[in-house]
């Protein structure tokens, strides 16, 4: 054991631009989730049940081209929604709650990132992770159906593939804010998971009860909001019973206020009570 003092040398390597630092957070989330047993199990089961079986059926059935209605129904089905909710609950439950519990915001905001960068990183990480279910498999399915079509309108099918890309991103973007918001309300990730579930299924139940009174209540159901917004994305006609303004309002309410709530919670936590 020598007596030499510890040598300190400043870092002279490359530094990532400030604006791209949120990607570090996102990458860390993706790596962490890909090691989580429950997430992987649900991803595999969900992908198999929701996407793999239809992939074989739709590819093997005779078809002229990839149709928008087919993809809209595929991505608006009940099982698709349920598995997406499960995955959002699994992915988002600890993203903010763990940092609340361990007070580790300081790790992020003391490193020239700021709360906005932190939130952007968390949101991006969740989007990429959930996209492994909402985006990748539907794209593969769409490409497979296009590759096995008997018709020659590949351009039309490509357009539907493009719409599928947007729908896949939108699917994740619609549900993730609620997951993050619930995660910001508690320090325990298990409560956050349950809370996320309860929110979505509670909304579905209440919507189911009141839909008998008025069709507008059906848009209280997030799965209906998803289905109808996919209808818009795929360029299909909305039925007359769907109130377009209400659809827009619900899409807004499920995305913007929850993210504002997360921002407020973090600012309050970081700045102290």
């Amino acid at each position: 054991m020598g007596l030499d003092p510890i040598g300190y040398k400043p870092w002279d390597g490359q530094r990532t631009e400030h604006g791209r630092r949120f990607l570090v957070v996102a990458e860390s989330i993706l790596r962490h989730k890909l090691r989580a047993k429950w997430f992987l199990a649900m991803l595999i089961i969900g992908t198999f049940l929701v996407h793999v079986m239809p992939l074989f059926i739709l590819s093997m059935m005779p078809h002229k081209e990839l149709e928008a209605e087919v993809m809209r129904d595929q991505m608006g089905g009940g099982l698709y929604f349920i598995f997406e909710v499960i995955l959002v609950a699994l992915v988002c439950s600890d993203l903010i709650s763990e940092d609340m519990r361990s007070n580790s915001f300081i790790l992020y905001v003391s490193r020239a990132m700021g709360v906005k960068g932190y939130l952007l990183g968390k949101w991006t990480g969740a989007m990429v992770t959930i996209g492994l279910f909402t985006l990748l498999p539907p794209l593969v399915l769409a490409i497979a159906v296009t590759a096995t079509q008997s018709g020659s309108d590949y351009l039309g099918s490509l357009a539907v593939i493009g719409q599928t890309l947007i729908a896949g991103i939108w699917s994740a973007a619609l549900l993730i804010p609620i997951g993050l918001a619930v995660s910001s309300l508690t320090r325990k990730r298990t409560y956050a998971s349950v809370g996320t579930f309860m929110f979505f299924f509670g909304m579905m139940l209440v919507s189911g009860i009141f839909t008998g009174l008025s069709q507008d209540w059906s848009l209280l159901d997030p799965s209906q909001v998803l289905y109808q917004s996919h209808t818009v994305i795929y360029g299909l006609e909305l039925t007359d019973s769907v109130n377009k303004a209400l659809l827009g309002a619900m899409a807004f309410l499920l995305t913007v206020p929850p993210m504002a709530l997360v921002y407020y919670r973090i600012m309050r936590k970081e700045a102290g009570k």
């Binding site: 499960i86 609950a89 699994l90 298990t190 349950v194 579930f197 299924f201 009860i209 009174l213």
Partner: protein
């Protein structure tokens, strides 16, 4: 001497675990849910044709299908698991009390708390409906029927989720899968597979207890359902007790 130690110990575990559950801030969430249910039922009572059948259907959906299993999951799955995770269970397992008795104490505490919460929420929801509904006859009886039915549900669900919490490190996820996928999704599938849920058995018993709503039309032998639920409850409580007895707790 041993008998009195076990009885006092059982009472102590039950009382303190119930107190711990009630002092936890989760009761605020329960009250919020209760307020939401009251709001929904109160509003629904103002709709045209709102009657006891409608009230029964709503209680079936909101309470039997949603609140009962979810509350049992939140409280039951975390009861022993939280104590194992924060190691406060050390007081119980280093006492001269058979762990099987301790487990029974936890179960009793859990059941008491859940019954209390369910009673409050059901009463608030039911009274909110009656307050705004033009038809009130049979309303009180319906509320009491659903409370009694949910007490039975609490016994079964508590046994299930307490066992899950003792067996698994992350019981919530499996519990959520059971409640929302198995009971929610598979339970709605027509055919006999839909009968393999606690909810269905409760609905069969409900059909004997009330003439209101779609639950009254559920097919099945209520005595068999009752026996099945009792047997399931006893089996899960006994299993949980033995798991805790044999579990190594670091």
């Amino acid at each position: 001497m041993r008998m009195s130690l076990n009885v006092i110990g059982l009472r102590t575990v039950a009382a303190f675990s119930a107190r711990k559950l009630l002092m936890n801030r989760r009761w605020m969430l329960v009250m919020l849910l209760g307020a939401l249910i009251a709001l929904v039922m109160g509003y629904a009572a103002t709709a045209d044709g709102a009657n006891m059948d409608f009230a029964s259907d709503m209680m079936g959906i909101l309470l039997l299908m949603f609140l009962l299993p979810v509350l049992s999951l939140i409280y039951g799955a975390s009861m022993i698991r939280n104590e194992m995770d924060d190691r406060s269970i050390v007081q119980v397992i280093t006492a001269p009390l058979d762990r099987r008795i301790s487990y029974l104490g936890y179960y009793i505490g859990l059941v008491v708390v859940l019954c209390l919460l369910i009673t409050v929420v059901t009463a608030i929801g039911g009274l909110a409906f009656l307050a705004f509904s033009p038809e009130r006859e049979g309303g009180a009886q319906l509320i009491v029927t659903f409370i009694a039915l949910q007490y039975l549900g609490v016994l079964v669900y508590s046994a299930l989720f307490l066992l899950l919490g003792t067996l698994m490190r992350q019981p919530i996820y499996l519990g959520l899968l059971y409640v929302f996928i198995w009971e929610g999704f598979i339970g709605s599938v027509p055919g006999s597979i839909g009968n393999l849920t606690i909810r269905h058995q409760l609905q069969v018993i409900a059909s004997e207890m009330t003439d209101y709503g779609s639950v009254a039309l559920t097919n099945g032998d209520w005595t068999m359902s009752m026996l099945a639920l009792v047997a399931l409850t006893v089996a899960m409580v006994v299993a949980g007790a033995f798991v805790l007895r044999r579990e190594e707790i670091s």
